[in-house]
């Protein structure tokens, strides 16, 4: 089990109703965690729509999660 700090922005925060949560999970990778959270919050995104930041840097969704990681799932960006 790994305990993570998860931060939600924009469309994802709208689905959770809060910006942060501490979550303990059995999921080993960011990709697996994405699917766990999609089931929980009914996110309207495919795996290929989403990027992940771990400890404030883009990482592969295959990255193994470590105790205390800060995780941010990033839906398609729309700056500019």
């Amino acid at each position: 089990m790994t305990t993570l700090q998860i931060t939600y922005f924009a469309a994802l925060r709208d689905t959770t109703g809060y910006a942060e949560e501490t979550l303990t999970t059995e999921m080993a990778t960011a990709k697996a965690l994405f699917h766990e959270l999609t089931a929980k919050y009914h996110w309207p995104f495919a795996e290929t729509d989403i990027q992940v930041a771990i400890n404030d840097r883009y990482q592969s969704t295959d990255t193994l999660l470590k105790e205390g990681d800060r995780i941010v799932f990033i839906p398609p960006v729309a700056g500019g």
Binding site: A10, A11, D56, V77, G79, G80
Partner: protein, 151 residues
């Protein structure tokens, strides 16, 4: 600061203390427009993931300074609630000659749209509000958001 986020109106005055070899400056202002995909927009809301947005923004400007024959480059992106006509993003490239400054400025806006974690919520005159998907906005043949989603 090469790349900044601000929740205050963007000041677009360019310092006169640019590199003395500067002969051409190209600026780009992205402004909030009153219509998008045939819908009447009343305002926009930009939200950033600041720690990563600043890192990615600095990386973009640093890459441009290495890859283009320019002297200076900067970009500022707004966050918060913006009204029609407000400046959402401001970009400046300075070069000895104009050609490289145009190319660098276009590269920067395309890269910001692709990789900087900033999101845009459009508020419409009928009261609805939608987070805009802009997956292909950096494509030069497709400057408008083609997909939107509602939550």
């Amino acid at each position: 600061m090469l790349f900044q986020l601000t929740n205050q109106p963007i000041e677009t005055l360019i310092s006169s203390s640019l590199h003395p070899h500067t002969g051409g400056i190209v600026t780009f202002e992205g402004r909030v427009r009153a219509i998008n995909d045939d819908r009447e927009v009343s305002s926009l809301e930009y939200e950033a993931y600041p720690e990563l947005a600043l890192h990615e923004g600095h990386t973009i400007i640093s890459e441009v300074l290495e890859q283009f024959d320019i002297l200076e480059a900067r970009a500022i992106h707004r966050t918060g609630h913006l009204a029609i006509g407000d400046i959402a993003v401001w970009i400046m490239s300075a070069a000895v000659h104009r050609k490289e400054a145009f190319a660098a400025t276009e590269y920067i806006i395309n890269a910001i749209k692709t990789s900087v974690p900033i999101w845009k919520k459009e508020h419409y005159s009928n009261g609805e509000a939608i987070w805009v998907r802009c997956d292909r906005c950096a494509d030069e043949h497709n400057h408008t958001a083609k997909e939107v989603f509602s939550l």
